[in-house]
Structure formats: C-alpha cells, structure tokens
C-alpha cells in the first residue's frame, strides 16, 4: 500500500481550471452589468445630455461624500459589523469644518485633519463599544448616531452655519475661497477634475490597495469570514474591529468638509440617512452583511449605480413618486443581473 505513490486524483485538471478562471473573470465582469445597463438607458434616452462630462461630474460629485462614507462602511461590513453612525459623523464633521472656518478662520488644510480626528474619535468609540463591551455594532452605532446628532445640534444651536464668509471688503475671505475648492458644485481642480470626485476616487484606490495588498486588509477579511479562525491564527480581532470603526469614522470626518463646501453651509441635519445610501452602495456592490465578502471596487460600482440612476431618472423628468418606484425596481434588477448563478435556486446545499 505504501508503495503506490501515484497521486490519488489530480485535484486540478488543467482544462477544467482554465474554464473556471474564465468563469470567474466573467463573474467579475458581471458585477458591472447593472451599471452598464443604467449607462445604456441614460445614453439611449438622453444621449449627450447624459454622456456629458459636466453632467457626470455633477452626478458623481453630488454623491461623493456618501461614496466616501460607503468605503468606510465597507470596511466595517467586511468584518461582519455595520456602521449606522456615519451620517451623523459626517454631520458633526461638516459642522466642525464650518465653525473652524467661520469662527477661527482656519485654513482648509488645517480643517480637514481636525475633522478627520473628530470623526475618528467617535469611530473609535464605536469600535471600543463593539470590541470591548461586545455590543452588537447595530446597537452601538445606532446609539452613536443619536448621541452625535444631539451634540451636532447642540453645538450649532440648531442653526446652519454658512461657509461663504465675506471679509470686511465684502469679498470671500481667502480661507473661505480656498474652502470652496472642497466641493462647491461645478468648481474645478486641475482643470475639470472636481475635488469631491477626485477625493472619492483617491479614497477608493487607497482603500482598495489597503484591502488587497496589506496584512491589515487580509485580517479584515479574516475577521469577517471566520472570527474564530482569525483569532486562532493570531489575528488581533479586537484591534482590527476597533481599527475599521475608527477608519470609518475618519472617512466620515474626511467627507464632512466636502459636504459643507457642497452646500456652502453646514446644516445641523446634514448627513441624515446618508448611512442608508452608504450601506446600500456597499451591498449593491456585492458586500455581504454576514462579513468577509465584498470589495472596494464593488462599492464604487454600487455608488455609481445609485447616483447615475438618480441622474438618469431626473434627466428624464420622471415624476418624484415614480422615481421612487423605478429606483427600487432597477436596484433589484441590477443586483440580480450581477449574480452568475441566477436561476439555479438552492441547488446543492452550500457548504459554507
């Protein structure tokens, strides 16, 4: 018996493998079908109005701050948690930015780090509650949503704070002028690269690299995919959990000034219900709320689907009520189209 050393069965037949690789590449392409569909509808119905640099920049720009939130939320979702507080964190960060600008005349490059620290601080609390006190992240971040919104409203006295601050000469102060770059609609940076869009893309690229190329990224997937295995492999599950919530908060803080600049003011209600958009982008992009599954590329596509869908419906002057209906339907269609194994319901008990 010990003499027979022929490998029992080749675990991989080359032909089969090639087939599989093709399939999985197709699967990846499939993720974009929903987006392509929406682009196609946009082009078919509104040709050049839709497929126009300004229109696309505007559409993505309006969603950029939510898109940035979605990246942070994706991190949290990957570990199997959820972050409902990002909308509130964006709100308090945008308020912080507007106040720093109006009360203390800080420069934008000072404001952004401060806002990120503010967001990261509350994010850290989320992580600590989840990891140390082991509160379900849904409850922890829902509580944080409430607490931070209360603080936001309290510091602002429920009044919105404008960012277009005029100096004694009636013109915008240099700080306010510079701050506008962060997001005033239509503003250009590097000739037609609009800061919010740029920031969103950069955030996506950075976090894509972090997730795919670094140890931290592997650990994030491991914590969400199998926390026990992660722990037994020496992954510091607590630290990773705290880190993703902190990063999510930090990104919300980063998105705050963008939101404030976009509206030229920080509203005490700013960011309300953004968390739903952010989570939706991640989940439409294929992230699983069970954890361990999802990519930044997917979230990016999910965000584009949401914002371009809005744009296409708006350009076609669909009534607001029907927009709600059609939007829901198309999201379902887009998600279904992304699934390669669509019509094989429940074939074979999956082993996971």
């Amino acid at each position: 018996m010990t003499t027979k050393t022929a490998p029992p069965t080749p675990a991989k037949a080359p032909g089969e493998n090639r087939l599989r690789r093709t399939f999985s590449a197709l699967g990846a392409a499939q993720a974009y079908i929903g987006l392509v569909l929406i682009l196609a509808v946009g082009i078919a119905t509104k040709g050049d109005i839709f497929l126009n640099e300004t229109n696309l920049t505007n559409a993505v720009g309006a969603f950029a701050s939510r898109g940035i939130l979605a990246v942070g939320v994706t991190l949290v979702i990957l570990t199997g948690g959820i972050d409902l507080s990002v909308g509130s964190l964006l709100g308090i960060a945008s308020m912080t930015a507007a106040m720093m600008l109006s009360k203390h005349s800080l420069e934008p490059w000072q404001i952004v780090p401060i806002c990120m620290v503010v967001g990261a601080f509350f994010g850290f609390l989320n992580g600590a509650g989840t990891a140390w006190l082991r509160i379900q992240s849904f409850v922890m971040t829902l509580a944080m949503l409430s607490v931070v919104r209360g603080l936001d409203r309290q510091v602002s006295d429920n009044v919105s704070v404008g960012t277009q601050i005029a100096g004694p000469d009636g013109k915008l102060t240099p700080q306010a002028e510079a701050f506008q770059l962060f997001g005033t609609p239509g503003h250009n940076l590097f000739d037609r690269i609009y800061y919010p869009v740029l920031a969103f893309i950069v955030v996506c690229v950075v976090f894509h690299l972090i997730l795919t190329k670094t140890r931290f990224g592997r650990h994030v997937y491991a914590v969400g995919g199998n926390p026990t295995a992660a722990r037994l492999s020496g992954v510091n599950v607590t630290a990773i959990t705290i880190a993703v919530f902190t990063l999510s908060g930090m990104l919300a803080g980063f998105a705050g000034p963008i939101d404030a600049a976009y509206s030229a003011s920080a509203d005490p209600q700013a960011g309300q219900s953004y968390e739903l958009d952010a989570i939706a982008a991640a989940v439409i992009g294929g992230a699983s709320l069970a954890g361990g599954k999802g990519t930044i590329a997917g979230t990016f596509v999910g965000a584009l689907i949401l914002t371009l869908l809005d744009n296409v419906l708006g350009l076609n002057a669909v009534s607001d009520n029907w927009q709600l209906v059609i939007k829901g339907l198309i999201v379902v269609v887009a998600v279904v189209l992304q699934r390669p194994d669509l019509f094989k319901f429940f074939r074979g008990g999956s082993r996971s």
Binding site: L19, K213, R215, R218, N226, G292, K293
Partner: protein
C-alpha cells in the same frame, strides 16, 4: 531532551470540569499520542497549550523555562503550532492567504507567499493553485491545508488534533512521511486520534486521559490495554458484525444516476452510478478523497438534482426533490461535516436532535416538549453523549459528542434507509464499537445502511458489500464472501479513466 512540560493543568467551564491536574512531558523529536474517550479533555488540554484559553490552572514549561501562554500569539512565539480539531480556515480567502494568516508582512509579498504555499502543498501531495479560495476546496483538502499551515511555521512543538479524520489512507501515509521528516529535525509532535492503528504506526508514546484526568501512559501500544485504560472497562470485539443480512428485499435501487459537478464548488460529478441496498444489508462505499462518495449519498438524499438516472425506494419510484422529501420517505443522512451541515451550533442538544422528527412530536399542532425531552434523552443516553443535559449548547460539546448528537438526531427519525457519511469520524473506540453495534442492529431490524467511510478496516469488517467509487464512477463491487483485501479496494479506487485526466 524535554521540550515541553505541562504541569497540573486544570480547566473548568460553566458546569463542566474539563481538566483536572493533568501533566504531560514531550521530548524533542518525539511523537506523543493523546488518547481518550470523547470529552476526555484532549482538545481542551491542547487548546490551552495553543493559547486558545486565556486562563487555566497549572504551569507550562518550554525548553526548561516557564512559558506564559494566554493567546495564540503567545503560543506561536514559543514555537507551538496546532492543527485544530475543527477546521479553522477563512472560506473567502485563498489558500496562500490562509496559510500565512496572522504572519504576513505588513505589505503582502504575494509572490513569495504563493511560491512557499505551492511548495508546502506539493510536499503534502496536493496539486492546488495557491490562489484557490478555501470555499472551493474539499474537506479533505482543507484538512491538508491546515497541516500545511502548521508546517509553514518554524515550530518546536506541533499539535495535531485528529488531523486524519477526513483523510483516506493514501493521504494519511503522506502525512506520516511529513511527521517523520519533522521529528527527524527534532520537532516534537503531539498527536490526537481515535484510530488506534495510526497510533501503532506513528506514536512513540501514548498518554491516556479519562474524564479530564491523567490515567497513564505506554510506550508499547497494546490495543486492548489502551482501551481498557481509556474506557475504564474491557471492550469486546471491535467490529461485532456477524455474517448475515442481505437476504431481504431490495430497499433502494439506483440506476444510471448522474449528477453534474458545479464549476467553482469543487464538487465531483457523478457518472451513471447504479447500486442497490437490500433491507437488512450494510453496503459500504469506498474511494479516495474526492471520489464522489459524499456526493452520491447527498444525491440519494435529494440534496442535488440528478441530470439522469432513476431511483426507487421500497419498490416505489423515489425522486426526492429536497432532503425534506427524502426524510418523508424514511431516509436519513448523517452528513460528512457535522459543523457545517448537521448542527445548529448555537442551539441546544434537544433542539438539534429533534429537528427532523418534530413532525411526530406534535400535539395539537404544537411541539410536545415533554415527549421531545423524553425521546431525546433516551437516544442521547443510549449513545452515551457526555453532556450535563439536553439543554446544553451543542457548540460547547467535544467533537466526538457532537457527532453522537448528529447520530441521535437521525436515529430519532427511525429511518428505513440510513445513509452515513464518515459516521465514526472523531468518535472514540468505545463509542465506535457502539455505533457499529447500532448499525448491525439496524440492519438486523430490516433497515438498509449505506455507509461511506475512509477507514477501510471499518468497511471491511462491517459491510455485506463494498462499492468502490473513483471519479464519480463505480469501478468495483466486492461482497463479503469474496473476502476483499485493502489492496484490491485501493486498486479499484485508483482505476482512473485515462481520458478524463486531461
């Protein structure tokens, strides 16, 4: 030279004293086997060594110095690696990612990781791409990947908690070669297994635990004596099946059954499988890893949609569209992977055991808790499940006891045909004998038993007939009267069709 000393180790869980004053020493290059009944505390002892538990009583010394091990990281720092009883891999990550999990460089060096992974896999006879996702790997492959993961570290002490429970002989032999290579280099190995013949082959010393206490140790393996030590009483014949059975009417007939594989899932396709099981007969299914044994049992149980072929049960056509339909016809499946396929780990023993048979425990449309309790308790006691009560959480049971709960669950449905996929995986010798007795008595009671097992001696001793699968095809059939040898079965199991290899 002694590398590891564990002194007076104790550990309690709420309501359970799992370990009490156990000591263990291991020398360089030595293979020490841990033996004991299910729930004796073997895994707990080793988990303490691997840093799974934060607190415990007693002291650990490594290389002559006291080691404080309270986390997996501590354990790794002291050169301890462990292959856990339950597979611990991240399904969505690749093989390479899993092997290096927790030890990556801050910026991944994919190339180096994949090269090293490929090397490790080759050493274990696995020809898999390092980029393959774990969820696409078969159970046996996963177990070998766990081995590779442990080997990838620079270890002084390697703990293997039932590393072979999902492996067939060929892979087991390869594992032995690896272990011998390691011990040759001075690594100490602690090996847990319920397969006594393995201990004979690989262990230098056997340490026996019972009910969380140290019973004794032997350097010479004498099966009867070891059994006596671990069970606390002598055990009769290992495989009690007498000749007979197989004279009943045909119970299950499968003709030309084909099931397509699924791209990416690592499932073996079945090709035109025909077989029959008569009432009172025990039929074995042998084959190498990935031969399609589990697939076959699952197909009969209605898990997969066959592309072609027909089945009949008790003379009537049998076309289960789901496990529910199969269960209704009196078929039961003890699935291969208890954790993933059989148990709701977070729930109680009673909940799990009664799940498929709730239909007969109803009174006025509600579950009759008293009858449920009584039925489950009877079955669980019969199988000697070691647990404080039927309301105990299944996830906190020892591996073998979990397996017993799975058996209890299916016996409660009083099936007429029971399909068993590796039914004695992780089961101690005493309980194994009981399960064998149980199979015999089921057969004697006119039931049909179809059992897939990687342990050929078990099949040879228990079965009236043995079918051999290879790549989803039946390549041979032996009846008890032919007195088949292991070699003959293995040869059939490797009778690959040349055409399919490319």
């Amino acid at each position: 030279m002694t590398v590891l000393t564990m002194r007076a180790i104790g550990k309690s869980f709420p309501g359970v004293r799992a370990l009490d004053g156990v000591s263990l020493t291991v020398a360089e290059g030595e293979v020490v086997a841990l033996l004991g009944e299910n729930g004796a505390g073997k895994s707990t002892l080793m988990n303490i060594l691997a840093g799974v538990f934060k607190d415990y009583e007693g002291e650990i010394e490594i290389g002559g110095r006291v080691a404080h091990i309270h986390s997996p990281k501590d354990a790794r720092r002291h050169g301890i690696a462990m292959i856990h009883q339950e597979l611990n891999l991240v399904p969505e990550l690749s093989i390479a990612d899993n092997i290096f999990l927790g030890r990556e460089r801050a910026i991944l060096d994919r190339k180096a990781m994949e090269a090293r992974t490929a090397e490790l896999l080759r050493g274990l006879g696995l020809d898999l791409s390092p980029r393959r996702l774990i969820k696409q790997c078969k159970i046996a492959e996963r177990q070998l990947i766990e081995v590779a993961k442990a080997l990838s570290q620079n270890v002084r002490v390697l703990v293997m908690d039932e590393p072979t429970s999902a492996l067939a002989d060929a892979e087991v032999q390869r594992l032995y070669a690896v272990i011998r290579d390691l011990t040759g280099r001075g690594v100490a190995v602690i090996y847990i297994s319920h397969r006594l013949e393995e201990l004979e082959e690989i262990a230098d010393r056997v340490v026996v635990l019972r009910d969380g206490t140290y019973v004794g140790e032997r350097s010479e393996v004498d099966r009867d004596e070891l059994i006596q030590m671990m069970v606390g009483r002598p055990l009769g014949e290992m495989f009690p099946r007498a000749d007979g059975g197989g004279s009943g009417v045909e119970l299950l007939k499968v003709e030309g059954l084909s099931v397509p594989g699924e791209p990416g899932s690592g499932r073996t396709p079945l090709r035109e499988v025909s077989l029959s099981v008569r009432a009172g007969e025990i039929v074995g299914v042998a084959g190498l890893m990935g031969a399609g044994r589990s697939e076959l049992l699952e197909a009969i149980f209605g898990v997969h949609r066959p592309a072609a072929g027909s089945m009949s049960l008790g003379g009537r056509p049998y076309r289960p569209r789901s496990p529910k339909g199969a269960i209704r016809r009196g078929v039961a499946l003890v699935a291969e992977d208890r954790k993933a396929q059989s148990l709701v780990l977070g729930n109680t023993i009673a909940f799990n055991a009664s799940l498929p048979s709730l239909g007969r425990l109803l009174r006025l449309g509600t579950v009759d808790a008293k009858r449920e309790q009584a039925a489950v308790e009877r079955q669980v006691n019969e199988l000697r499940v070691k647990a404080p009560g039927t309301r105990f959480t299944v996830g906190n049971l020892s591996g073998g006891n979990q397996q017993k709960v799975v058996l209890a669950k299916w016996l409660l449905t009083s099936p007429s045909l029971i399909l068993m996929d590796e039914p004695t995986r992780g089961i101690d010798v005493g309980a194994k004998a009981e399960i064998h007795a149980l199979m015999s008595s089921l057969a004697a009671g006119g039931k049909g038993v179809l059992v897939a097992s990687s342990e050929l001696p078990e099949l040879l001793a228990m079965c009236d007939r043995i079918l051999v699968l290879c790549e989803g095809r039946i390549t041979a059939e032996f009846s008890r009267g032919e007195h088949p040898t292991q070699e003959a079965i293995l040869e059939a199991a490797m009778a690959r069709q040349k055409v399919t290899t490319l």
